[in-house]
């Protein structure tokens, strides 16, 4: 049944997730406006024929950020909202917010030069984890086991030209089982959760880790909802680790993938996302 709402989908490429979202919209009779992030342009005045809500599925943090601000400027709500994309899309800003809200998260130190990064790693202690502040799928993350590793990794990072690599986000290495947890939040509900297992320390499903459904315990649900709310709420994947002292949140992802989660749990995540977007659309 059509709601009369036109759903914009801002995307880079069409992966199984976007295909599922397109199918969910079609099943609901919702007209879709496809917005290719490599083709759209934004003027200062609102163009005609804007959709009533834009679901951001761009894989580029930079494109996402400018696009959601532009759509907000035109009066079109976005999923997620600009402030959420800003916060959750940047690990530094996200960690600051989680700490402000007293949400358990790994010890983190940020440095803005290779020299300061060495001091930051020393402050965290070995092993430490070095992550890019922006971007994910486990790319360019490094587990630093000793000062010699640290020097070599920092030297390599210094050779990378992108300004992203001049921000050093250093986190404690959390001793955990060979798995982490992903909880998928839509609005005020955790719709599904899964364990992600891997033989290596990075457990991202995009890196080939295996997945299985995880029970929605009260601890997991409470923490995931608090983390999502801390960054402003919406459609968010909250990644958690089982530390010796309990669950800790290490990432909140504002443009989450869900193919593996839907496969592991059978949850209709695409449908839930579309329904949520329709709910925040302008009337």
């Amino acid at each position: 049944m059509s709601s009369g709402v036109r759903l914009g989908i801002f995307y880079t490429i069409v992966r199984p997730e976007e295909k599922a979202i397109l199918a969910a919209a079609e099943a609901r009779g919702v007209p879709v406006v496809r917005l290719d992030d490599g083709e759209v342009t934004f003027g200062l005045e609102a163009p005609p024929d804007l959709p009533d809500v834009v679901l951001n599925r761009s894989v580029s943090h930079t494109r996402s950020l400018y696009a959601v601000h532009c759509y907000a400027h035109y009066g079109v709500p976005t999923v997620n909202a600009p402030a959420v994309v800003e916060l959750a899309g940047d690990k530094v800003l996200c960690s600051l917010r989680l700490a402000e809200r007293h949400i358990p998260t790994p010890r983190t130190v940020v440095a803005l030069s290779p020299e300061a990064a060495m001091a930051a790693i020393d402050r965290i202690g070995y092993p430490a984890v070095l992550k890019p502040a922006v971007g994910s799928w486990g790319r360019l993350m490094a587990k630093v086991d000793n000062p010699e590793d640290a020097l070599q990794i920092l030297e390599h990072k210094s050779a990378l030209s992108s300004p992203v690599h001049s921000v050093f986000y250093v986190q404690e290495y959390v001793p955990k089982p060979d798995r982490d947890l992903r909880a998928f939040v839509v609005g005020n509900e955790v719709v599904a959760a899964m364990y992600r297992r891997s033989g290596e320390w990075r457990t991202n499903a995009a890196r080939g880790g295996s997945t299985e459904a995880a029970p929605l315990t009260s601890e997991l649900t409470d923490l995931a909802l608090r983390a999502a709310e801390a960054v402003g709420g919406g459609v968010l994947a909250v990644d958690l680790m089982e530390s010796p002292s309990g669950l800790v949140v290490h990432e909140v992802n504002p443009t989450p993938e869900f193919k593996a989660l839907a496969g592991a749990t059978g949850a209709d995540i695409a449908g839930r996302i579309v329904d949520y977007a329709l709910g925040v659309a302008r009337r």
Partner: protein, 53 residues
């Protein structure tokens, strides 16, 4: 059907949508559906540093 721009293998459209990314069955290159009528493909965009979730 069309040809992979990298290896020229024949690639067929099995219900793919505009913009969908898939691997060439022969060479494994990531391809993106550019059009459905006629079916055309191009190499998919390369992963950039700010790509992620």
């Amino acid at each position: 059907m069309t040809n992979c721009p990298e290896c020229e293998a024949t690639v067929e459209n099995h219900g793919m949508v505009l913009g969908e990314v898939f691997s060439c069955p022969d060479c494994g290159t990531e391809l993106e559906v550019l059009g459905n009528t006629p079916f055309s493909v191009q190499p998919a965009p390369k992963e950039a540093e700010d790509w992620g979730e």
